[in-house]
Symmetry: C2
Subunit: 340 residues, 2 copies
């Protein structure tokens, strides 16, 4: 047997100088093979790296007890917490989890779906990339009978379950909180509007302004991928604008980068500009002033997503559902704008 | 064809009402099939989710163009940066990356090795769990000819490349820095001593004390898995000890948790107790006082690890190497202990 080649029962037979049929019988635990011989064969099989039943059996039964997760980026705390929830539920149900990152890139996401399909994962959990507008790349997997559950970023495809938070309500709460704290000129750091999640967040912001009789100004909506660098670029724009007194950012990453830049330029947070973020990243409670933010039940979201998927894997007649989880506003120092 | 079953060329043939041999010829791009028919067959194949060549071809060539990564925990910033480096190099070389978390659990790590073996990944990058003392679980993969490269946590297995940082030197530098800033009673937050990485860090700490004529006190070595909670528990012990003026922690997570607890109890950092961490997590520059810490070339480590692995995949005669990367001490406020 050459290194790198698939080990077969024939290799085991050859190595032990016995017949292949004996090896096959031993591996199938037949009573026709003595205990001693069985043990010898099992030892040699392990030594050679023989993988009994795995690939061949996967081809037969199409079950691998593996769940594939596509995530935009594991470095975001929100996503790594969701994945922790997924892993907990999967582990309890006896599934292994393999994780792939799309890096918010549509082409990469397409390739990953192919990889997961060819790895025959029993189901896929996906949070689509910020670039994803079409869903043809999911069809081969779905047509093949593989279940997909969307998490965080909702996606309206027939026969797919999804789980997300009430982004509209969260944004409404965040914006209203800034208004109630005396802000009148509130900028919104928004994500790509092709994504329903960021669309819903923007809607919540706009409607809260309307409710309180504030004008909506399209120039106050700064759209980006919400990276650290985007936060700094936006902070510079805000300084140029000159009269902004509030920021509601669609994530903590950009909010924190903006706070740090604004502080370095002598802007007082929250006296001059109040800030609310989104995600409740660990860093949000450590930065000074601490960041008011939206807390999402990330771990819970992961657990529920995995549970929906596993139910679908185990029971193809399982009714598809869309779940929306509630969020909470965590009020800290960065939004205490009102001068008493 | 039932949902969930492997799509074959026969299913495509049946769906189109043509002969299987024609489908086979078309998929092999034979000139004996007209362009129009070829297109029809390809369209139907896509629609049905037919996976040409993947599994069958994997069994034949044993190549999947996929790299498996086992990581203790993706939520640690250090590891997610290493993985970013891995992904960059893999992407350029045309490999997909699948990531699995061991959660520092040996049993889980064993299962993941089985999953990666049965998924036929072309190579494995692994940072072993804190519990891992034996390496039998890697043998089936290695015996099968699959290359393994160790990253971050060095592991001395013949024929395996590894890449790590100079943990001894880093620790020596960190401890010496505290001593030079006037600390005399320095506690070390240490990881499990079964792991060479944490052993090396402890050695560096001990030797720096010796060099400067300070006594080494075994009670000052507090061993744990270095979680947030461990940091808090250690901070409480330090307050009880009463005379500690320095902390050198083997990671930022525990260091930051300790700083926050100590601050809440009225301890002045760095005047009463100076602190040095390890990893340069993003949070370390945001916390007040900002944390002096060791910066590791994490992204670089990932890139090099992937490159070593890919060279081994593509050239089995590639000579195995151990690389040790240099680190730097980033001096911030938390270690400015000396009263001038």
């Amino acid at each position: 047997m050459k290194k790198g080649e698939q080990v077969t029962i024939h290799d085991i037979a050859k190595a032990l100088g016995i017949d292949s049929s004996t090896v096959s019988r031993a591996l199938n635990n037949s009573t026709r093979v003595s205990k001693t011989t069985k043990q010898k064969i099992l030892d040699k099989a392990t030594e050679l790296g023989y993988q009994r039943n795995t690939l061949a059996s996967n081809l037969r039964t199409n079950k691998t007890n593996t769940i594939g997760v596509i995530v935009p980026r594991i470095s975001r705390n929100f996503f790594s917490s969701v994945i922790s929830g997924i892993e907990e539920t999967a582990q309890k149900a006896g599934y292994n989890v393999i994780i792939c990152q799309s890096f918010e890139d549509f082409e990469k996401e397409q390739k990953l779906m192919e990889t997961l399909l060819s790895n025959r994962v029993d189901g896929v959990l996906i949070s689509i990339s910020m670039q994803t507008e079409t869903f043809d790349h999911l069809m081969p997997y779905l047509n093949h009978g593989g279940p997909i559950v969307f998490y965080d970023r909702p996606c309206y495809i027939e026969n797919c379950s999804s789980i997300s938070v009430d982004d509209y309500k969260a944004s409404f709460m965040a914006t209203e909180h800034l208004i109630e704290n005396g802000c009148k000129n509130i900028v919104h750091f928004s994500g790509p509007q092709i994504n329903p999640l960021y669309k819903n967040r923007k809607r919540g912001y706009v409607d809260a302004l309307k409710k309180h009789g504030l004008n909506f100004n399209e120039n106050y909506c700064l759209e980006s991928k919400l990276s650290e660098n985007d936060g700094i670029v936006f902070a510079k724009e805000i300084i140029k604008m000159g009269h902004i007194d509030g920021i509601y950012s669609s994530n903590d990453t950009a909010a924190i980068a903006a706070i740090q830049y604004l502080k370095s330029k002598g802007v007082n947070i929250p006296k001059d500009i109040a800030v609310v973020g989104f995600n409740n990243d660990p860093i949000s409670s450590v930065i000074e002033p601490s960041l008011t933010t939206i807390n999402q039940p990330d771990f819970e979201m992961g657990k529920t997503a995995a549970s929906l998927l596993i139910q679908q894997i185990q029971d193809t007649s399982f009714k598809k559902t869309s779940k929306v989880l509630d969020v909470e506003l965590i009020v800290r120092q960065s939004s205490q704008h009102k001068k008493v």
